[in-house]
């Protein structure tokens, strides 16, 4: 879980960097997206690795949850979980399910049309189509609302998960306080950045 989680964090940062460029320059966003969408190394090596990483992370998340719930067949009548652990750490499965549901929508919005464009309908490649496609998706206030809510849950998931992955890998030393501060900053700022991008394109359309 820790290794796949850290891998997904790296991917998330890369995804954010490209998306954030859309706020400043449609041309930069188009060229970065075109590179990611056509480079064979990205398409045929990194993309399958990413899909495997996502599937492995959520499948293992469900397996862990099932095993852990099964380890206490008789539940407590009174259990004060908030007295000793954060809400985020106790509800990773909930935030994870919201993120997984969001990924379904995200794939429907971007990945499925992309596959359709490139491999099913085999439409001519247009290096300038990406920005318009992105902006178009953020016209709907409902979709933007779902995106915003999903990124709130992503933030909650990362607030525990990112720092926790270091503990799982055995990193607990004099740098742990700094790691905790940096991972918390990442967990708040990156989802906030994604929310900003969605709202920016939504409001810019009017």
């Amino acid at each position: 879980m820790a290794l796949s989680g850290l891998f997904l964090v790296v991917f998330l940062f890369q995804h954010f960097t490209i998306n954030f460029s859309s706020v400043f320059s449609a041309k930069t966003f188009n060229s970065l997206s075109h590179f990611m969408g056509t480079n064979p190394l990205v398409q045929f090596v990194l993309q399958p690795v990413l899909i495997f990483g996502v599937i492995y992370h959520f499948v293992m998340g469900f397996v862990l949850e099932i095993q852990n719930r099964g380890a206490r067949a008789t539940k407590y009548g009174s259990y004060n979980g908030g007295a000793n652990a954060s809400w985020m750490s106790r509800n990773m499965i909930l935030s994870g399910i919201v993120i997984l549901s969001f990924l379904g929508l995200h794939f429907y919005d971007f990945w499925v049309p992309e596959i359709n464009h490139k491999y099913i309908e085999v439409l001519p490649e247009d290096p300038n189509r990406y920005y318009e496609e992105l902006v178009h998706k953020f016209h709907s206030p409902v979709r933007v609302g779902i995106y915003v809510l999903s990124f709130v849950f992503l933030s909650l998931h990362l607030l525990h998960g990112f720092n926790s992955s270091f503990q799982s890998l055995g990193v607990n030393n004099k740098y742990s306080v700094t790691i905790q501060k940096l991972t918390r900053a990442f967990a708040i700022l990156i989802p906030l950045g994604f929310i900003f991008i969605a709202l920016y394109h939504h409001l810019n359309a009017f």
């Binding site: 862990l64 095993q67 852990n68 099964g70 380890a71 206490r72 067949a73 008789t74 539940k75 407590y76 009548g77 009174s78 259990y79 004060n80 979980g81 007295a83 000793n84 652990a85 954060s86 750490s89 106790r90 990773m92 525990h160 926790s164 503990q167 799982s168 890998l169 055995g170 990193v171 607990n172």
Partner: protein
Amino acid sequence: MKLTLKIWRQANAQAPGKMVTYPIDNVSPDMSFLEMMDVLNEQLIQKGDDPVAFDHDCREGICGMCSMFINGEAHGPDRLVTTCQLHMRKFKDGDTITIEPFRANAFPVIKDLAVDRSAFDRIQQAGGFVSVNTSGNTQDANAIPIDKHDADRAFDAATCIGCGACVATCKNASAMLFVSAKVSQYALLPQGKVEATDRVLNMVKQMDSEGFGNCTNTGACEVECPKGISLENIARMNREYLSASIKG
């Protein structure tokens, strides 16, 4: 103080249990929680009822026998104490207190609030020891130079009394804090390094076979541990386990 106690009653390991309510009066704030339970049991015996079974021994926070889950927390609402060190002054007159046994599949209920924690013994037997020649020519431990910081960390880990509060409080019923404390106390010392690889692999294997859950780093165990065993030990055990797995 006048209190209402809601206590888990279960005749034996096979019988279904249920919460039973007992009003109790004249509880002194200076009583320990176990003394309050003694008073309740005296009242129950006088009425001809079956007293509440609960584990206890030293009553000074050393043995790790007392094991109640009080108002949703292992050893109750206080920090760095066992149930025997918890005083009634932590509660208010008129309070309702819920008392349950430590719950985990690996800690089956024997009767009422008493649970079987022999899973911890089996984990210890799997590797929580050092093999020392005791035939008469044993080397004096003080003759081996040990870094003061390592000695302190090993001692901190060794203060684990094996009460099981970590398991009881963990939402996953994980025993990682207990096992990591036992692994750490030896891994940090030169005497423990000889068997370090087998120790961590065998103890983790035994832990898994006992049916404990997995660690998801919520940190609840560290907060509820009466001896303040640190999560640093879990990270150390993870390193030891990774290293041992590579070595085979």
